[in-house]
């Protein structure tokens, strides 16, 4: 293990992404799932930063700024949906929300 390289950042990013994905797939609480989605977004941001750092380019950071802005908007919409849903069905358990099936 020598110099800090882009591989380390990407490994972190991959680890975060997989943790997030596993959270989305396994957890049943819709809020946790939502947070895991945010985690996956963050993993992507780290990759962008890492590549930008390696290439000596600002493009990666600009991308990340955009992503964060959009993630904020997405969080607002997502939370609003979750709020509306929990009010309607009185639960945050996704296994119990299957009205579309029937």
């Amino acid at each position: 293990m020598g110099e800090l390289g882009v591989e380390h950042f990407l490994s972190l990013s991959a680890a975060l992404f997989i943790i997030g994905m596993m959270g989305v797939l396994i957890r049943r609480n819709i809020l946790i799932i939502f947070m895991c989605v945010e985690l996956m977004l963050t993993a992507a941001n780290i990759s962008l930063i890492a590549f930008g750092w390696q290439m000596h380019s600002l493009d990666g950071q600009v991308f990340v700024l955009f992503t964060i802005a959009i993630a904020a908007a997405e969080a607002a919409v997502g939370l609003a949906i979750i709020l509306a849903l929990s009010r309607r069905v009185h639960t945050v358990d996704v296994a119990e929300i299957h009205e579309l099936r029937d």
């Binding site: 882009v6 591989e7 990407l10 490994s11 994905m21 989305v24 797939l25 396994i26 049943r28 819709i30 799932i33 996704v94 296994a95 929300i97 299957h98 009205e99 579309l100 099936r101 029937d102």
Partner: protein, 671 residues
């Protein structure tokens, strides 16, 4: 000058449309006030047409419009009235008018009065267009139209099952003949390149340009149509059943006019038939067989209308073999006289049935002359005319047919056989007619006099009977003296003009036409040289009178003096009696050999082909789709995690393919 020709068919058409559209709401029980004047108007215009043609001796034409302009296939709708048409117009409108008037009384109080008075003028319209048409396509069109009207009117009492069946039978049996006629029209267009009758490019002018075989085929196909419509063997079975319709309909359509359409068609196409001896032979044989068969069946029947119906079949047979032996004028003459006396007989039957409260079995009648004197007298006149007693209408025309067969130049030897058999048929005709008369109007009452009170019919019914009876007495004289009467001079030109044009004109049409026609024929060098002498006319007149009186006398012995017992004779010739009573077994034969197998085939097609194969396939596809989707819909759990898993797995697979397939790419951390 000829612009009024259109009025003849137009008036009944307008009446029919008015009654069809407004019958239910406006005209209702007064529907006859629309129809009767319309038909009367068309009768009057027909009279004018007759006068004009009589005076000018020229055909009248009126061009209307072109129905089908399609390349070389051109079907104009033109009205054309020559001498033959004029005779047909008079027959159709006269009998039509009288039947309309008669129906006012007969159909009184019927629930669908307006419907009757809509169909009846519709029929008159179709029939008039049929005889006015100047090409085969229009003839065919209205040929079908009269068939339709016949169907509607036979099935007029559609709530009665037997009426519905009879209507279907008439329609389907006629289809067989119409198929032949349709093929004939196609064949005519194929051969001649036109369907028009007249003009230098018309069919009749160019018969000689084509081979004998072609012309024979065309003539036979046309005659197939005539067999169906004119109830000739083997398609005669529909006509007696057609008596399920109201009696005025039987009189107008199934005795006087529509059934003569076949005779008219053959007479109109005489140029084609004259060019083919084979076709003429077929026409003769079928006509003769029908004449004998119809008369023999009529002897044993008990239903009053059925007897007269078989009589019609027999008389149509007479007309057909007259055409076949080349006695064209005699055939048309008989067509005309028959229309009047058979119309009279049918209306008389209607009056009897009406007076007897819907009883049709002659075994349950008797001595009706006491109750219905007018009906009796007129019916007697009709019967005498049908039997061929001097000097009534039937005598002149039937005699001429028989003489025509005897001197036929088409079949010099066969004609003699025809004559003998025709006498046999004439004998049977006289017998069955007077069996009917004696059973119905003489003897003792064979009905319950306590409960049944026969009564004379109203004036609207007896009026037409009297008019028709007078016509029956007088109409024969237009053909007097025999072979040389006004009628013959008038209509003769129709059959002469084409004789010279047919290359195979083996016989002059005007075989027994002397006077003016002779000169024409001599010029053409086609004259067969036959000439009816006065002696021959008188001889045949005497023979046929003796035959007719003999038939009547035999009926007298059986049913009035009872010196011969009908029951004993029937028992003695049991086999023959049953054979005749069962109408030569034709109905049974057709039922067993044609209808039943077709029903079985239809049942098979329905139960196996349609239900199992076609429906099975369609329903099978639907069922397969349904069960497949029932299985597949389980994939859609509705649980978000499952979808997310599917997305993730899909992504893994895609990336996996990407990495394996594009491994040459420089991916740093996989190095």
């Amino acid at each position: 000058m000829a612009d009024y020709l259109i009025l003849i068919p137009l008036l009944p058409l307008v009446a029919a449309i008015i009654n069809l559209l407004l019958g239910r709401t406006v005209t209702r029980g007064k529907a006859h006030l629309v129809s009767v004047p319309a038909v009367a108007g068309s009768w009057f215009v027909s009279l004018l047409v007759l006068r004009d043609i009589w005076n000018t001796e020229h055909a009248i034409e009126q061009k209307l419009f072109t129905w089908i302009p399609s390349g070389s296939f051109n079907v104009p709708v033109n009205l054309y009235a020559d001498q033959l048409t004029a005779v047909m117009l008079m027959v159709v409108t006269s009998v039509g008018l009288l039947v309309h008037i008669y129906s006012i009384g007969y159909m009184h109080g019927d629930g669908a009065y307006y419907r009757f008075f809509a169909y009846l003028p519709l029929f008159v319209f179709s029939m008039l267009m049929l005889v006015l048409a100047d090409n085969y396509m229009i003839v065919f069109f209205f040929w079908e139209a009269v068939g339709l009207c016949s169907f509607l009117l036979i099935g007029y009492y559609y709530k009665r099952r037997s009426a519905g069946n009879a209507a279907k039978k008439a329609f389907i049996v006629n289809r067989v003949g119409d198929l032949g006629f349709g093929l004939g029209v196609i064949m005519i267009f194929w051969t001649f390149g036109t369907v028009n009758f007249w003009g230098p490019e018309g069919v009749f002018a160019r018969v000689g340009d084509f081979g004998q075989t072609t012309i024979t085929v065309i003539a036979l196909l046309l005659f197939t149509g005539a067999i169906g419509k004119s109830a000739q063997f083997p398609l005669h079975v529909w006509l007696p059943d057609a008596m399920e319709g109201p009696t005025p309909v039987s009189a107008l359509i199934h005795a006087a006019t529509m059934v003569t359409a076949g005779i008219y068609l053959v007479a109109r196409s005489n140029a084609l038939f004259q060019a083919s001896t084979t076709a003429m032979l077929v026409v003769t044989c079928i006509g003769l067989f029908t004449a004998v068969m119809g008369a023999s069946i009529a002897i044993t029947q008990n239903d009053i209308k059925r007897i007269v119906a078989y009589s019609t079949v027999s008389q149509l047979g007479f007309m057909a073999f007259a055409l076949g032996t080349g006695a064209w004028m005699a055939a048309i003459f008989h067509l005309m006289t028959h229309a009047f006396f058979k119309g009279l007989l049918f209306l008389g039957c209607g009056s009897v049935i009406h007076g007897m409260h819907e009883e049709q079995d002659i075994q349950k009648m008797g001595n009706l002359r006491k109750y219905m004197p007018v009906t009796f007298l007129t019916f007697l006149i009709g019967s005498l005319a049908n039997a061929g007693i001097f000097p009534l209408a039937g005598f002149w025309s039937k005699d001429e047919i028989i003489v025509g067969a005897w001197i036929s130049t088409v079949f010099p030897n066969f004609g003699k056989v025809v004559t003998v058999l025709a006498f046999a048929a004439a004998f049977m005709t006289a017998f069955y007619m007077f069996r009917l008369v004696f059973k119905v109007f003489f003897g003792k009452e064979n009905f319950d006099t306590e409960h049944v009170h026969p009564h004379e019919s109203p004036k609207t019914m007896t009026g037409p009977l009297v008019i028709l009876a007078v016509a029956t007495i007088l109409i024969g004289f237009v053909g007097f003296p025999p072979e040389d009467g006004k009628f013959h001079h008038f209509i003769g030109t129709v059959f002469e003009s084409h004789a010279g044009e047919a290359t195979h004109a083996m016989a002059s049409v005007a075989v027994h036409n002397d006077g003016g026609a002779l000169a024409v024929m001599a010029e053409e060098g086609e004259h067969g040289g036959h000439h009816v002498s006065l002696a021959m006319t008188i001889t045949f007149g005497v023979i046929s009178s003796v035959v007719a009186i003999g038939g009547i006398f035999l009926a007298y012995l059986y049913y009035i003096r009872r010196s011969l017992s009908a029951e004993a004779t029937a028992a003695r010739f049991n086999g023959l009696y049953n054979f005749l009573y069962n109408r030569w077994g034709f109905d049974t034969l057709y039922q067993e050999r044609i209808v039943a197998p077709l029903m079985r085939l239809a049942y098979f097609l329905w139960q196996v082909i349609d239900v199992k194969v076609i429906d099975g396939t369609v329903n099978g596809i639907a069922k397969g789709t349904l069960s497949a989707s029932q299985t597949l819909r389980k994939v859609q759990t509705g649980v978000v995690s499952n979808y997310a898993l599917a997305i993730a797995l899909g992504m893994v697979v895609i990336i996996g393919i990407y990495l394996v397939g594009f491994s040459s790419l420089d991916v740093p951390f996989l190095r």
